[in-house]
Symmetry: C2
Subunit: 194 residues, 2 copies
């Protein structure tokens, strides 16, 4: 398995569609269908972005996801860590202390400070993180935007808008049906659309 | 699992003991015992270093491993790739071509060139590899050598030398036993000591 997994790829692609604010937030299901990715998988990814305050979820039939922060302030590293956690590049087993010559336990000089091999890996992890932190969602959106023809972003926004409107009208119809049923049943509590 | 695994850690620690040429090459079993790591695991690691021409294996009872190249010409990246192969940091699934708006298949502009998200990951992988390539075995050995007290490297060399002498004397005794058995049985073919 790669160090940076498919969930990060799905998350970044989703977030790109949220860079330009939508009139109605996009639901997890609509974002999955738009991109041809499994809805159940994406439904587990977006709450991780919410916990990291990268997106915010609005509730109700008109609910869905928006970016919580300006896209120029969200880096690829932020997204990788929101999804994967702070995963070490290398997991040092501290074998330097196990030398057969240390019969009475490892001496202090052998285990003090960071292991020299571990130190190389830590430096490598630092440059990797710094490189991932250099690109923001805004940068990515500009690059992607330059490739697409003029009308494409608008077409996607229209597609997401139609889906949001459909969700809203279904929600309104359900409320009317409950109100007209005469059994005094309260509408179901509004849940986050994810 | 970390991107750079325990096998790389074991390999690098072993190689550090081979930086200063030993009078007799070190066997895989002796290197495992010296460092308190599982012999069966190390026996799978050292042949990978041999295939990458980082170590060379001498045959016979006095056999074992030596560095094949000068330590200043062997980088941490060489060792990582000898053990792990050229493992990608990120495995792009090319989801950009699956957009629901591409009803008749993805247009050329959507899938030409590298995906912008994949490009960020490739740059991150390049800086990671460059950083791992900056440190050589010679550099690591100098750092480790500065930490250890004056006599320690000599003690380790003496320990490995005693083990090598023991292996050689056992091999010679076995040859004598065969020669004296009078049944004309030829000594078993010498195998690599690993």
């Amino acid at each position: 398995m790669a160090y940076i997994g498919t969930a990060v790829e799905y998350a970044l692609h989703c977030l790109l569609w949220l860079v330009e604010p939508l009139s109605t937030p996009a639901s997890s299901g609509d974002l999955a269908e738009l991109q041809g990715v499994p809805a159940a998988f994406l439904a587990k990814i977006l709450p991780k972005l919410e916990r990291a305050r990268i997106v915010t979820a609005a509730e109700g039939a008109r609910g869905g996801y928006r970016l919580e922060r300006p896209p120029a302030g969200i880096t690829v590293l932020d997204v990788v860590e929101a999804i994967e956690g702070r995963k070490p590049l290398f997991d040092c087993q501290e074998i330097r202390g196990r030398c057969a010559l240390f019969r009475d336990g490892a001496p202090r000089w052998a285990t003090s400070g960071i292991c020299s091999i571990h130190a190389v890996m830590v430096r490598a992890e630092e440059v990797l993180r710094a490189e991932l932190a250099r690109t923001t969602l805004a940068d990515l959106a500009r690059t992607v935007g330059r490739k697409a023809p003029a009308g494409f972003a608008g077409d996607v926004r229209a597609w997401l808008g139609e889906r949001a409107a459909l969700r809203a009208s279904r929600g309104a119809r359900r409320d009317e049906e409950w109100a007209g049923s005469g059994v005094g049943r309260a509408p179901a509590p509004r849940r986050k659309v994810r």
